[in-house]
């Protein structure tokens, strides 16, 4: 953890962090919420207190919300609708040989 030099201007508001928690059985970290914190270490502490106090998790990630680039909801049509009529992209037209087992 690095400490910001005193010359840095004080922030009026703490930055926003997105919180991801992996549950005991879970394989992946799932987004569970967000919070404001002064730095990453504090964001982890706060995420622990806010999001894991009922044993929800065994691992936490915090990510600065500003580091996430999100798709624009207005682009939903061009981005996602063209995939709607292309059922052949789902691998449901094959017979799976028995020896392959569960896929």
């Amino acid at each position: 953890m690095t400490t910001a030099p005193h010359t840095a201007p004080a922030l009026k508001e703490w930055p926003l962090w997105e919180v991801f928690v992996r549950s005991k059985q879970g394989l992946e970290h799932k987004h569970c919420g967000s919070l404001h914190a002064a730095d990453a270490a504090q964001a982890l502490n706060m995420a622990r207190d806010v999001y894991t106090r009922r044993q929800e998790g065994v691992s936490i990630w915090v990510v600065p919300a500003k580091s996430i680039t999100a798709s624009n909801p207005d682009d939903k049509g061009p981005l996602f609708d063209p995939a709607a009529d292309k059922v052949y992209r789902h691998p449901t037209f094959y017979d799976i040989p028995d020896e392959v087992g569960h896929m």
Partner: protein, 286 residues
Amino acid sequence: MSTPINYLLHLADNALVLGQRNAEWCGHGPILEEDLALANMSLDLIGQARLLYSLVAKRAPTLAADASALPPEGAFAPWGGSAALHGGQLTEDTLAYFRDVPDFRNHTLLELPHHGALVGYAKGNLDYATTIVRNFLFSALMVPLWQQLTTCADTDLAAIAAKSVKEAGYHLRHSRDWLVKLGDGTDESHARVQASLEHLLPYTQEFWMLSALEKEATDAGVVIDWAQLSADWNALLDDALAEATLTRPSAGGYVSQGKLGQHSEHLGYLLAEMQSLARAHPGATW
């Protein structure tokens, strides 16, 4: 072997009184996350107190049945005499709710309000700098102390220590993080946390004033390496203060003696708030 009742009550009262104090922030935290954090830590402490009180109650079961086991009128009984036998049985609840100020064995530091003696830099009655400094000073004591007690000869106490050392570890991490942020923060936050440190550090002399309480425990086989504990605490303190750009004040003057039952005027108010419901409705359950 069993730890003296007095020493178990000392550990239990420390946890209960600080747990109750910090719970005063519930609904009043500076931000939502801190509100939750302090309430979580209060629940850790109250949980520790419950285990320790239950252990006392388990080890003193014959008191209620045997009236002759009660101390004579006016004599000191570590469990608070007949008041704690309310309803005829010594339980974790009677120990928490039916003992009075002189029966409590907690460090004076833990019962002080969340502001300086003369308020000083505190704005209002709840000064977060005071809360943080107190939590830091105490958890820096409890992490190495619980660590030592995990190997003590009293296996019940060792089990409680093994659970508590993890909780204290988080309390230390939380308070240290804030101590550094406030100390190495703005001019105002630095001044307020320094003022809190100057107000509270003298009360830590009580940690190291070894009394009949510790001697009784040592004689019974609960051996604590006080020199090591003091070295550990001082190292944690100096390291954090350096990072927080705070100056360690000299801690001299009056040595408080809460652990011997001689408390500040603040404990009475704390107990009144904590105990009034149980005393107004004795034996009530839900």
